[in-house]
């Protein structure tokens, strides 16, 4: 790993939301990263929010998420969420992405380096052959920084029932 001192400064704002109030048509204001936090590491990644609080069950979060990164040197890099590449940057030393994400509590947002040849003329990542699992996908990447999207549920944890109700015979 090239950047051993990478610090993930996740400005994790707890957003209390419920199932009805989570649809946000108005994008969150772009955070002024430099004003919020000082970055002293070779690479910094900010994700906002990183944790959501939900009062629905089973716990699912659907939020507009703002991602910002900054590096000391220009990078060819892409941002992926749960095996889906969201954005790529060619020879940039900073980048930002704003969009809606849905997570169930164990998804990982990852910033990884790519070869210049992996990017198309439009700056998009050339899709690699599909990996069979998230672990395989992640292990195939040269990860710069990553962060887990978390959920805090106000409800007791629930799981699917395996047996059929009223099944006694």
């Amino acid at each position: 790993m090239r950047y051993s001192l990478i610090t993930i400064l996740a400005a994790a704002t707890l957003i209390a939301s419920n199932a009805l109030a989570k649809q946000q048509d108005v994008p969150l204001p772009h955070p002024q990263v430099d004003e919020l936090l000082e970055c002293t590491e070779p690479l910094c990644l900010w994700v906002q929010p990183q944790i959501c609080v939900t009062d629905n069950a089973p716990a699912v979060c659907k939020e507009t998420v703002s991602v910002n990164w900054r590096s000391e040197e220009p990078l060819n890099t892409c941002l992926a969420f749960d095996e889906q590449v969201l954005a790529c940057w060619r020879r940039e030393s900073s980048g930002s992405w704003l969009g809606e994400l849905t997570w169930f509590g164990d998804e990982i947002l990852v910033l990884f380096t790519v070869d210049e040849s992996d990017l198309t003329a439009e700056g998009e990542w050339r899709e690699r052959p599909r990996r069979t699992s998230r672990q395989q996908f992640l292990s195939s990447l040269d990860v710069l920084a990553s962060t887990e999207m978390q959920i805090q549920s106000l409800f007791p944890k629930a799981r699917r029932r395996l047996g059929s109700p009223w099944s006694v015979f």
Binding site: R160, P165, F169
Partner: protein, 297 residues
């Protein structure tokens, strides 16, 4: 038609008991209730009791249909451990849409040999013949076909195995089960594939399920085979064969309040030739139904 009368009485009673509640709970959300029905909170004991009338048709000669008036629904799920209506298990792998678990449960084949629900739960088979019996004093076998009155007692068994559960979409559940006898009774195996689909409607929540269950020759032969262990003439001897048993079932739940629901269940199963060809068996299909009111404790 006593069955029809009993069923209608159960429904009438249920309706009388529950209509006033329904008026107070007119804004019941079926979809929310349906979600509740499909999931369980961890570390909470869930007990529901349904009262009404249910019946399973008899397939073994000499038994009456199995009637029941109370149906329990008990489950407890921990992070990985679970108990669900007699099935005890431990989940080895849990994903967002799939789960792999080890489990053990009572083999329900025994229930065909009793016509009382207490007999089923307490392992008291109908048959009074506990072991090999000599021919009748007249010197020959009584020429009666095998029935629960003249065959050796079939014991209940405990099975254990592995199951994989997959949830490709909301309300859709696909399950694959492999199981083996661990009580050394039937010494056989069974395997099952099932698909269930929930359908929430304004008329209540429906759940449709299709199953294919393979039962090995050892399992079929232990319960439905007829041999020298039974007190019947040798011309009735029968060696059970493995079967694939298709089954269709529908479950209906009409929520009346947070705790009360009207529930109905129906199940139709084809026994397969390896079972149905046995001289012990009088039918080639079996039906089970229940209609009543459930209360969540």
């Amino acid at each position: 038609m006593p069955t029809v009368y009993r069923t209608l009485s159960a429904v009438a009673l249920a309706t009388c008991l529950c209509l006033p509640v329904k008026a107070d709970e007119a804004d019941t959300s079926f979809v929310e209730d349906f979600n509740e029905q499909l999931k369980v909170f961890i570390n909470e004991l869930n007990i529901r009791v349904a009262m009404g009338y249910g019946e399973r048709s008899s397939i073994v000669r000499g038994t009456d249909p199995l009637s029941f008036y109370v149906l329990p629904d008990v489950s407890y799920y921990g992070e990985r451990f679970f108990f669900d209506n007699g099935m005890v298990g431990y989940s080895l792998k849990q994903g967002r849409r799939h789960e792999v678990s080890l489990f053990t449960k009572l083999n329900t084949e025994f229930s065909f040999f009793t016509d009382s629900i207490t007999g089923y739960w307490f392992g008291d088979a109908y048959s009074g013949v506990s072991s090999f019996r000599n021919p009748s004093p007249s010197g020959g076998w009584e020429d009666e076909p095998p029935s629960v009155d003249n065959i050796a007692k079939r014991s209940w068994a405990i099975d254990a195995g592995i199951r994989g559960d997959y949830y490709p979409a909301d309300y859709t559940h696909i399950g694959v089960i492999l199981s083996q006898d661990i009580r050394n009774k039937h010494r056989g195996q069974w395997a099952s594939v099932m698909v269930s689909q929930g359908v929430p409607t304004a008329l209540g929540n429906f759940n449709f399920k299709g199953e294919l269950t393979y039962k090995s020759q050892d399992l079929v032969d232990y319960y439905y085979g007829v041999s020298s262990r039974d007190n019947v003439a040798p011309n009735y001897y029968y060696r059970g064969r493995s079967v694939v048993q298709p089954a269709l079932s529908v479950h209906w739940q009409y929520p009346l309040s947070d705790r009360l629901s009207i529930v109905g269940s129906g199940r139709y199963m084809w026994l397969g030739d390896g079972v149905a060809d046995s001289p012990l068996i009088t039918k080639d299909t079996t039906t089970t139904f229940f209609l009543g009111v459930s209360y969540a404790l």
